[in-house]
């Protein structure tokens, strides 16, 4: 489902960088939430972000689609720099899908309507076409039979898979995940992670905040460790887990790996 491979070389090189954050700072009042973050994610790359609670993972990922505005530095997404220009932000959001930690499907719309809403209103897609597209993605997350139900009638895992399908219906170039499994009961975590693994196999560019180390080992090109609003360490999964360089990373890994 991506622009991988077949696109002309020129376009690939120009757009080779999917997301680039350079020297990004963000304050909440006095609190320094992001303290000079540099992160470059290439097209097709999968980056897993981890770090202790309050280290700024969510804030960073939310700066990528303009849910938070950074105050210093530069955020460029798919060649578009995010400023406080609302048009630009909307432009970026159309190309960037996001799945949140909290289950936030629209409760007043059916599963199908949740999926067709943005294609119809933002992409101006004919309803029929949008519905066909939605059914296709619902089938991909293995719940086409739930299309007519309301979100409240689904389990947490199913809701999160619908959220993934809903984002995919916009045909995004980049997918952001903010701890998509941490609000779920343990038995539902796997079904959501499996869906994300399949997405990764298809070559989607993904930035995933997660502490699921198995998932990170399986799909990540790179694991990034954040602490106190900074990126402390960034390495390939094998290297990251077996030879962490920084003390803080070691401490963190010892805590989550028991």
């Amino acid at each position: 489902m991506s622009e991988h491979g077949s696109s002309p070389v020129i376009r690939t090189t120009r757009n080779a960088v999917a997301v680039e954050l350079s020297g990004v700072h963000k304050w909440f009042g006095e609190f320094h939430a992001l303290d000079g973050v540099d992160l470059k994610v290439m097209r097709g790359e999968r980056v897993v972000v981890c770090g202790p609670s309050g280290s700024g993972k969510s804030t960073m990922i939310r700066c990528i689609n303009g849910l938070e505005m950074h105050q210093r530095g530069k955020v460029v997404v798919d060649g578009v720099e995010l400023t406080d220009n609302l048009k630009r932000i909307d432009e970026v959001r159309r190309e960037v899908g996001m799945v949140f930690q909290s289950l936030n499907l629209f409760p007043h719309l059916t599963v199908l309507e949740n999926c067709t809403l943005a294609p119809i209103w933002v992409r101006h897609m004919p309803r029929r076409e949008a519905e066909a597209l939605a059914m296709q993605y619902l089938a991909r997350v293995y719940i086409p039979e739930q299309a007519a139900k309301y979100p409240g009638q689904l389990s947490g895992g199913q809701q999160q898979r619908v959220a993934i399908a809903r984002a995919l219906c916009m045909n995004p170039k980049i997918m952001l995940f903010d701890e998509p499994t941490s609000a779920l009961d343990p038995e539902m975590v796997k079904e959501v992670l499996d869906t994300m693994v399949e997405l990764a196999m298809d070559g989607m560019t993904m930035i995933v905040v997660s502490h699921e180390m198995g998932f990170a080992r399986q799909v990540a090109n790179r694991v990034v460790f954040m602490d106190f609003g900074q990126i402390v360490e960034s390495a390939e999964p094998e290297e990251f887990f077996s030879h962490p360089k920084h003390e803080r990373t070691k401490l963190f890994l010892s805590q989550i790996l028991h």
């Binding site: 849910l67 992409r123 101006h124 004919p126």
Partner: protein
């Protein structure tokens, strides 16, 4: 209580009869029914004795008697020679007029102020907050008198009235605007206007259909302008202008021609709208706040603009919470319109439960009819709003 001996806290295990929900419900219902029947009996006996003593005939015959007093705002033809029955209709229409216009305007004011109070603009949010606090904390009667005496009452007399383009005149006698004068063939122009409105509505539906089918609505504004303005104007010219505009003209101490909005009406309407609007604003604000922020963020993340997110995600969810208390506000506004009596706006309460009652002394009949009418208005409003709410709920689950 009927059993004072058992008022002491019951030991566990030894159940008091009143602690049994079935017995309790039957007991209290019986007490209530007996009380109501007894009170009703006393009232009827009393009324009968009083009426006999005062030699007042009972029954609705008085409705056919001539009223003999004038009314300063009548939506239907009325003169002093008309009956009390007609007074009733005139008053009812005046109540409906101020209530319906009031409800529409208060809803608009309420939504605008309620949303403004949530604005991220400090000044707008504070101004809306101050408005709500002032309006809902001052007694309504005071506000009606304020607009009537302190604002509209201090306007100049008709001769010195403030005029806008020599067509709209504002004075202490009210606001006068030009009216239409209908000549021969006016029906054709009106028909053309209706046709234009109908065709525009049809086009709107077509456009919605198109959006469902192709994703893009039709671009309609030029067609709408043509149908709504162009068509009636063309017909107007073709039929040699059967509809003219009649400007108000000062004749002696007052104006002739044009349509006059009484200061009593204006004061009552303004006060009802600003007062009720403040309460509706709070209801709207609470409804919108009840929709969790993550819903808006999910909508933004999908690329929906602020306006679309508000319209498609926030408002539909907020409405479920807004509609029931909104109904109460509509009922309040309708009932509060009876405060018109304080400034002499001729609503149902003033001309029927006021003047007519004083002149005829038919207190029981008139109060009963008036009560029944307010009850009917309230129940109708409630029924409409319940129907709307049920339809929305149905669409969700």
């Amino acid at each position: 209580m009927t059993e004072p001996g058992k008022a002491a806290p019951a030991a566990p295990g030894r159940a008091m009869p009143l602690a049994d929900p079935r017995f309790r419900s039957i007991f209290f219902q019986t007490v209530l029914i007996v009380t109501v029947l007894a009170a009703g009996y006393v009232a009827v006996i009393n009324a009968d004795a009083n009426l006999r003593a005062q030699r007042i005939a009972t029954g609705l015959g008085f409705l056919d008697h001539p009223a003999g007093f004038g009314i300063n705002q009548t939506l239907i033809a009325y003169s002093e020679a008309d009956s009390y029955g007609r007074v009733f209709v005139v008053g009812l229409l005046n109540t409906l007029l101020v209530s319906v216009i009031g409800i529409v305007l208060a809803t608009i004011v309420g939504f605008v102020v309620g949303i403004a109070r949530l604005s991220s603009n400090w000044l707008i949010a504070r101004a809306a907050g101050a408005y709500v606090e002032v309006m809902r904390n001052l007694p309504l009667l005071f506000q009606i008198l304020f607009w009537y005496l302190a604002v509209l009452g201090t306007l100049p007399s008709p001769r010195q009235s403030l005029s806008i383009a020599d067509s709209i005149f504002i004075s202490n006698r009210g606001i006068i605007v030009p009216s239409f004068a209908f000549g021969d063939g006016a029906e054709i122009v009106l028909a053309a206007l209706m046709l234009g409105i109908g065709a525009t509505a049809a086009l709107g539906m077509l456009s919605r259909h198109r959006r469902r089918a192709t994703g893009r609505p039709l671009t309609l504004w030029w067609a709408a302008v043509l149908l709504l303005v162009g068509l009636p104007l063309a017909v107007l010219a073709a039929t040699d202008f059967p509809i003219g505009i009649e400007r108000p003209v000062l004749r002696g101490f007052n104006f002739v021609g044009g349509v006059r909005m009484l200061p009593e009406f204006a004061a009552l309407l303004i006060a009802l709208v600003t007062y009720t609007g403040a309460f509706i604003a709070e209801i709207v604000r609470a409804g919108i706040l009840s929709v969790h922020r993550s819903q808006t963020e999910a909508a933004y993340a999908l690329g929906l603009t602020r306006g679309l997110a508000l319209r498609l995600i926030v408002v539909p969810q907020a409405l479920r919470l807004i509609v029931p208390p909104l109904t109460s506000q509509y009922l309040n506004l309708t009932k509060n319109s009876s405060l018109a009596v304080a400034i002499g706006y001729p609503d149902l309460f003033a001309v029927f439960a006021g003047t007519t009652l004083n002149q005829t002394g038919q207190a029981i009949e008139i109060i009963a009819i008036t009560m029944a009418i307010y009850l009917l208005l309230s129940l109708t409003t409630s029924a409409l709003m319940n129907w709307y709410n049920a339809r929305m709920r149905l669409a969700e689950r």
